[in-house]
Point group: C2
Chain length 331, copies 2
């Protein structure tokens, strides 16, 4: 294969767009409701070669405008959780995760949808982020490149959690490809029009890219900066009450993806003292002061940045598939 | 009485500082915890002429980081609610409001604390606000003037809800004087260091002012811009599902206290259409897109601005009280 010959990848005939996986992250909730309305209206005229499944993932949490009812749904899709025992008094989201796995999966199986795009918000100043479990899923990286080009005014990053497919725990891991599309800052339980519009435009570009890919377009290669999560830092806490004793330092607050260097200020205690970053390696902070992570013991996450070379790609044709099948036969 | 003769008002020996009335408004929660720690540490040395009662108002909601458990505590202090029947299965906050009324009140009674300062946060871009039920409570207006002078970099407004003492429903209405001290923007469930510090400094200035007042200082008169709430506007909603169908328009979002004129954009629907303000009078919007008010049917509130002349004041002396008593006797 020559250097510039596109990598040939299977088409993506079935895509799922999910919102309300966290019931108080409202951009996705209202976008999914709007898409469902559109789909109902367009069902008759526009079957098309692309099947788009639109899902409000956690209806009960959405109805109550809470992140979850019993447990965080977006931590329920690991192999172990999906295949563990289900006692009668199971948490609501454990039952729900199996229903969603039946609808969109089964995770790891041939019947799974080709791409899951799961919509989220954060209170952190993160702009638009893709969050994925692979730094070499060319589909996700090409979609990201496409959005970067189409939405040049939107700060945009690709975050990589280095977790195996089996251990990956979020809803987007159920698809053959998948990512969370995260937009912030926005308080949970609030919808801000600019974030809603950015998410709507972003999802439209995702679907446009998939249609072009499926129709046989060639996408040229390039580079993507990938932020790989290295570690998480908790708030300072009182050893007895476990209450936090400091807030994120004003110099760090809202500076997601700005390099944090050793001895930079990290926290300011409630009595007024500054605490600094004691790590030895400069790293990129993100999810700084995310509301939902107080209970998870995470004040911020830290990432290493790396430039990833993305090859040109195009969809496999019928001939490619037969050739590939024949070559497998020959082996 | 001559024009510049200070109005003489009773001293304020007992002040209450309350936080966690809404359990997910974290500036007040952490400030009250810090003040309680300070008080414990200073109890022995500093009795002083000012008694400061520090109260975490809704411990159960605070523990769960929710606004409330059953009903909004800060709507439970009207005369009717405080004096209505209490069935066995009463909402948690109904019981709690009576306990707080016993501690800080009784509302309207001689035994009530002299001043209640109740700490709140909002997701709206409101800076620091006093919210009170009177536009002629010289104590509250003088304290506000003091904070304006002491914190010149902080946007600061005085909001007036024109509701009678009897119908007033919030915790601060239990004191002889009282106001909510509201700081935003901040997502509920999040503490931002700059807001925490502003609230800490603000409360310190409130207490300093009361100490000076009690010690007999004369405070010169002046003017305060008072924003009197005129009406509330709900989000556009679907008539069947009651779901909102639009977000606050990007041109209005974060522009609290910037004059809204007839035909200015108000909302942007989820399908992209702009809706304008149909009122005939230019008014000042506030609590724009406050998270907790979605369920109350309030997208924003509108106020009329008026400049109020505040007279000079000083604390009554023993002679004043005897003179006042004697003159009442004579009548």
């Amino acid at each position: 294969m020559e250097v510039d010959e596109p990598v040939r990848l299977p088409r993506l005939p079935r895509v799922a767009v999910c919102g309300g996986t966290h019931g108080n992250e409202l951009s996705g909730v209202y976008l999914v409701r709007e898409l469902l309305k559109d789909l109902r209206e367009k069902d008759a005229e526009d079957g098309g070669p692309l099947s788009v499944l639109v899902v409000l993932s956690n209806p009960r949490a959405t109805q109550q405008c809470r992140r979850y009812i019993d447990v965080d749904l977006n931590r329920c899709f690991s192999h172990a959780t999906l295949n563990g025992p289900v006692p009668d008094a199971s948490p609501y989201e454990i039952i729900l995760s199996r229903k969603l796995n039946a609808l969109l999966g089964p995770k790891g199986g041939q019947g799974a949808v080709d791409l899951v795009c799961d919509l989220h918000n954060t209170t952190a100043n993160m702009g638009l982020c893709f969050i994925a479990y692979s730094d070499s899923d060319w589909i996700c990286l090409h979609i990201f490149k496409h959005l970067q080009r189409q939405m040049p005014d939107m700060p945009m990053r690709f975050i990589h959690y280095d977790v195996s497919k089996k251990e990956s725990y979020s809803l987007d891991s159920v698809g053959k490809h998948g990512f969370a599309l995260e937009i912030g800052p926005q308080p949970h339980g609030v919808v801000r029009s600019t974030n809603y519009t950015a998410m709507k435009v972003g999802v439209q570009h995702v679907l446009d890219w998939v249609r072009h890919f499926n129709s046989g377009s060639v996408f040229e290669g390039g580079f993507v900066d990938v932020f790989t999560m290295v570690k998480k830092i908790d708030y300072p806490r009182d050893s007895q009450t476990h209450n936090i004793t400091a807030a994120v330092h004003p110099h760090l607050q809202d500076r997601d993806f700005c390099l944090l260097r050793p001895e930079d200020p990290l926290f300011q205690t409630f009595s007024g003292e500054a605490l600094t970053y004691k790590g030895s390696e400069p790293l990129y902070p993100f999810f700084i002061n995310e509301c939902a992570y107080y209970e998870k013991g995470v004040a911020l996450s830290l990432a290493r940045k790396r430039r990833v070379a993305v090859p040109p790609i195009r969809a496999q044709t019928e001939e490619d598939k037969q050739a590939s099948f024949a070559s497998e036969e020959e082996e």
